[in-house]
Symmetry: C2
Subunit: 371 residues, 2 copies
Amino acid sequence: MAKVTPWEVSGVVDYDKLIKEFGTQRIDGDMLKFFEKKAGKLHYMLKRNIFFSHRDLGQLMLDYGKGMPFALYTGRGPSGQTHLGNIIPWIFCKHLQDTFKSDFYFQITDDEKFLCKNDLSLEETNKLGYENALDLIALGFDHKKTHIFVDTDYIKTMYPIALKIAKRVTASQAKSVFGFGNSTNIGMYMWPALQAATCFLPSVLHNKPVRTLIPAAIDQDPYWRIARDVAPKLGFPKPAAIHNRFLPALTGPEGKMSTSVGSHATIFATDDEKTVQKKVNKYAFSGGQVTVEEHRKKGGNPDVDSSYQWLTFFEEDEKKLMKIYHDYKSGSLLSGELKMILIDKLNEFLKNHQKKRKLAEKKVDKFILKD
Amino acid sequence: MAKVTPWEVSGVVDYDKLIKEFGTQRIDGDMLKFFEKKAGKLHYMLKRNIFFSHRDLGQLMLDYGKGMPFALYTGRGPSGQTHLGNIIPWIFCKHLQDTFKSDFYFQITDDEKFLCKNDLSLEETNKLGYENALDLIALGFDHKKTHIFVDTDYIKTMYPIALKIAKRVTASQAKSVFGFGNSTNIGMYMWPALQAATCFLPSVLHNKPVRTLIPAAIDQDPYWRIARDVAPKLGFPKPAAIHNRFLPALTGPEGKMSTSVGSHATIFATDDEKTVQKKVNKYAFSGGQVTVEEHRKKGGNPDVDSSYQWLTFFEEDEKKLMKIYHDYKSGSLLSGELKMILIDKLNEFLKNHQKKRKLAEKKVDKFILKD
């Protein structure tokens, strides 16, 4: 059975069921048309249903049409180097910032990762946070509109907002929403208030109501439920959200790719070409047949093949992708060849990313909010 | 039945029972001798058993004898103006600072009071915190050795220490130590880590182990239990504590004087002469007889008389106090006269205090730690 909480995603994820369970809305045709009109074309992550669900996106867009700006918010829990699954919503944030000229707030939760990981010190999560920031900046965000902060270094601003939220959330709510128990540490109990606080940060900083739109994987939704519940009581607009599917684990269609599961099969933004090649060749789950002969005859199954699934996240070119799908399905494209296509695609992305990441080291200060 | 938690003190307090229940040590004759030798004379709050219990005071004094300094730590929850019950441990801190030349850290918990009081905003508790600081400064502390901070304004320094504590404390520990339940807000769950954090602040600021000694009313002891439990795991010295009895409620020998119970019978550091006179005359529980004739014959009972009990906290002169005790017990001193003695004593103290409090407004910045 699939289990989806902000700390654990396991089993085969049924996204239709999640929409029902979490009570979110499917992104429908009208919404897609609106986005296509605004941006000139439909972003491939919308077209491919990678972003598939939302909360209050319609209201946000209506308000935007009336001249009310909104701010983007997403974040990163620095438990290790950035991996490619982390980057998916960030790429989409870049698209949204370019399209709507929005301010973008990026929260790096060194406090949470320290609290929930036994083997990480606060000094380590803080340092990893600044490493992760480089990967965000490398994606080409505008420093004038992009505001990155690491929790412990921006706590003086965040703490009063978090306190106001925390006062409105009982332990039993936190237990039922996040699955906390008696052995959970007291820092974790308080912590959801910190993540929810960023929903209201733009309003606090601008001293007027500014709604936030949160692009993030759907496992983060419980935090926004807390924030949406508390918002009217504190006089802030309810945050809107847009949810993405997880980048599947390289090892197969179960769960999300996560450093916590095992870093051997995780592709990091800092991996070199050889490493990427090795990981894909060794770990990418194949939808192909056992022998070449059988594969040529019966064809492969792209719907479970990790390499193909990954290409739906990283290959923007629709025609190329369709050709790969049909070639693989027909058997003319072999599993090894499909893996090679993914390897080339990832290495092309990472080569460019790592060059920009190096340049980001020099301008990181322009992005960082500090107390 | 008496109930003693950091948020509630009710019923007649049995201090012997508290020593057993909390597992603290009685301050014995040897300890008193040590203090008398150090200070030249025994402070009246020790002599009168107002400070009656401790944790690790012996070890602290042994270490001090070997040249290891210690820091003092106490604090204030700013739920209203400072009242006279709050000031008791502060007077004793002044004595300890003068005697041992210790640095003194004073934590003002605007966050906690906001979290646990429904009718107070964070802006209000913060403002009250700075009001309360004036009352501390008015007692004559040395600004070079006295460091006052308001939690939300010093959180950048405190938060990392609090996180390290919070990671080591489970929800069930917080429940059993502080009586938290499912309806307690999540901010309160985390909050004990903030109060415990100050125990380790001197070590963090000096980057070497500095033990703290905490003079505070015994209801605050649960926080130090948490801190003492966690200290060795984080490599800090266990804090030592010295506990005082509560200044009894003016209305009688049950509970402690507290703004929460009702401010009408509470004497504040900012009350004027007339107000003090009115409050004592109207609310001070009398140990005297119903008629003057009966009082002259049978005498009064100073052990339950609030005015007399208060004088044991505020009248330093031992001879004067003994005379009042015997005169009241013999019946030669009437209840109204005893009240008048207390009124004069308090007004003498407050007149001087308020003058110094006014002067404190100009030098408060010298005392405040900010991030």
